[in-house]
Amino acid sequence: MELVVFVLAAAMILVGAVGVIVRSNPVHAALSLILTLFGVAVMFVAQNAHFLAAVQVIVYAGAIVVLFLFVIMLLGVDRSEDLSSEPFRIQRPLAAIVGLGVIGLVVAAVVSSRDAIMVRGTGLNVADTVGDGDTNIKQLARSVFGDYVVAFEVTSVLLVVAVVGTVLLTRRVKGSGKAS
């Protein structure tokens, strides 16, 4: 059963990922990205990370990709990009080589070090065994607001900075349009 889930989700992830890089239309690329994100969310559930799965969908699919689409529509750049022409002839083969190289290296590292992965922490509380549905969330909350509370605060600041920065970036002062 778990295998079925894995295979289906992996297929979603890979098809989506390939779609992102081969679909010429940005909207289609964004749709493929959603497919990948959903696959990843399913993987999260299979790994007992329910909360993250939900957040994955809410944040990534619900906000980030919506923003992408919003920008695409706002700018009207939804015309298909011509993928057949390339500015540097060497770019694509090079990219393929680099990509394959990265994949190969990481896979090799994973395979060679698989025995080195050992149980380090106190273990994940899983609802099936504990019998409390919220256990994963509680554990995560304790971690975020306990051990990593400084990181949490810094991230909040980062978000605020991002919001303010974006507002400044896109604000159009009257008269500045003439400058170009």
Partner: protein, 444 residues
């Protein structure tokens, strides 16, 4: 340049709004209303900017002729930046049926059936202005029986109510208050039911004729009118609660579609649009016709010239009309409802059997129509939408040589681009609604 050459130059698409890269600065300036809105220096400054089509992503969108809120077949070309309206160009003519040409083919007796179809929301006012113009040409305008005059006032004011009620309905609908739509129609229905009782038709009555009216008021008319007058005020109070007091409603209309008094005058607008800018111009009071100088009523004016003022003016004009109708009920005299002029009015049916002369008159009026002396005349009255005027040239025959109707909506529509500029698409809808154009009258 002769006219014929000019025609050849205007090819398909000439009416349409063109993209900024295709037009010069002057044309652009005119379209955004520079003539009215900006100081010369400001306009000149604007004109010097080279228009770079890539600089801003604008979109030209057609609102209409098939759009739910363009009140028929009005077509607006809007240039949008995001949702902000930069330019607007009204394009009309989709309902053009050549009524002025048809009017030249119909006798003065039949003419009523033609003009009544122009502004189909206030048909009685159309008939009234036509009849008054014909009567002026005939020289009988002072001989119209009192009862006919007061009946005309009664019908005209009731028609104003029904027209304004429909405005409230459509305005509510355009802003998204769906119930208001039905309430407006509901109340208008009561008025139309009275019209149906009087004239036999709900609209396009052909009831007000040159020389008087087609028939007398039916039995029980006073009770019917009174029931309408008693029904309306509480309903209007409901509208106040539903819309006037509603903060969303105010937010949607206040400060939207603003026009100043100078602009409104220069553009020739009349009626509630002109009055919303603070100009108290109402032909009923300022150039009294019928017996409007004998009744008491207030001319409702606005202050800000925005869509809310125009809404409030129409709402309160219904109240004023109620006031007038009460006075009409008090005044309504007995007597003839048609002028006793054998050339204009067909004889009573009972006389046909008695008198050969009456039969001849009957035949003459219904086949050839009555002849109207040579001359030309313009009569303007206050229709619910503004000044409706009738310009008739007669060559002495039974048919008008030229009949021209000054349609208030046709003129008012020109104010749309000036009111819409800088607003959002939703504001554009509110503005169209607040101008309340009737396309039958615009295109004629």
């Amino acid at each position: 340049m002769t006219a014929v050459e000019n025609v050849r130059q205007t090819n398909e698409g000439a009416q349409e709004m063109r993209s900024r890269s295709e037009i010069g600065a002057r044309e652009l300036l005119r379209e955004v209303g520079a003539v009215l809105r900006m100081s010369e220096a400001e306009a000149a400054n604007l004109g010097q900017i080279p228009v770079d089509p890539d600089e801003d992503q604008t979109m030209i969108i057609n609102m209409g002729p098939q759009h739910p809120s363009t009140h028929g077949v009005l077509r607006l070309m809007l240039e949008l930046q995001g949702e902000t309206v930069l330019r607007c160009k009204p394009i009309i003519g989709y309902l053009h049926t050549g009524m002025e040409k048809t009017g030249e083919e119909l006798t003065f007796l039949q003419g009523g059936t033609n003009v009544t179809r122009m502004d189909y929301l206030s048909p009685l006012n159309n008939e009234l202005v036509f009849s008054m113009a014909v009567e002026k040409l005939l020289g009988i305008e002072n001989d119209i029986p009192e009862r006919a005059v007061w009946m005309r006032m009664l019908l005209s004011e009731l028609n104003r109510m029904s027209s304004h009620l429909l405005f409230l309905a459509t305005n509510g609908m355009d802003i998204g208050a769906v119930s208001m739509m039905l309430y407006g129609w509901r109340e208008r229905e009561e008025v139309l039911r009275f019209f149906q009782k009087v004239t036999g038709l709900r609209m396009n009555h052909n009831f007000i004729r040159p020389g008087g009216l087609a028939a007398d008021l039916p039995a029980g008319w006073r009770d019917d009118v009174l029931s309408i007058l008693e029904m309306l005020p509480p309903r209007l109070a409901e509208y106040d609660i539903l819309m006037t007091d509603q903060p969303i409603w105010r937010e949607r209309l206040q400060g939207v579609g603003v026009i100043t008094a100078d602009e409104a005058l220069a553009l020739g607008t009349s009626g509630p649009i002109l009055r919303s800018t603070g100009v108290a111009w109402d032909l009923r009071r300022d150039q009294p016709y019928l017996r409007y100088d004998e009744v008491e009523f207030d001319v409702i004016v606005g202050t800000y010239g925005d869509a809310f003022d125009r809404y409030a003016i129409r709402l309160n004009e219904i109240r004023e009309s109620i006031r007038i109708v009460y006075q009409i009920l008090d005044h309504m005299p007995l007597g003839d409802y048609r002028i006793q002029n054998k050339k204009v009015t067909p004889p009573p049916r009972a006389r046909i059997d008695e008198s050969m002369e009456a039969l001849i008159h009957h035949f003459k009026i219904f086949t050839e129509g009555f002849k109207v002396p040579e001359g030309e005349v313009y009569v303007g009255i206050e229709s619910p939408r503004g000044e409706i005027g009738c310009y008739i040239v007669s060559d002495g025959g039974p048919k008008p040589y030229r009949i021209h109707m000054r349609a208030p909506s046709f003129v008012n529509i020109q104010a749309l681009p000036h009111m819409m500029r800088g607003g959002l698409v939703a504001d554009a809808v509110a503005v169209i609604s607040s101008v309340d154009p009737v396309l039958g009258e615009v295109d004629r």
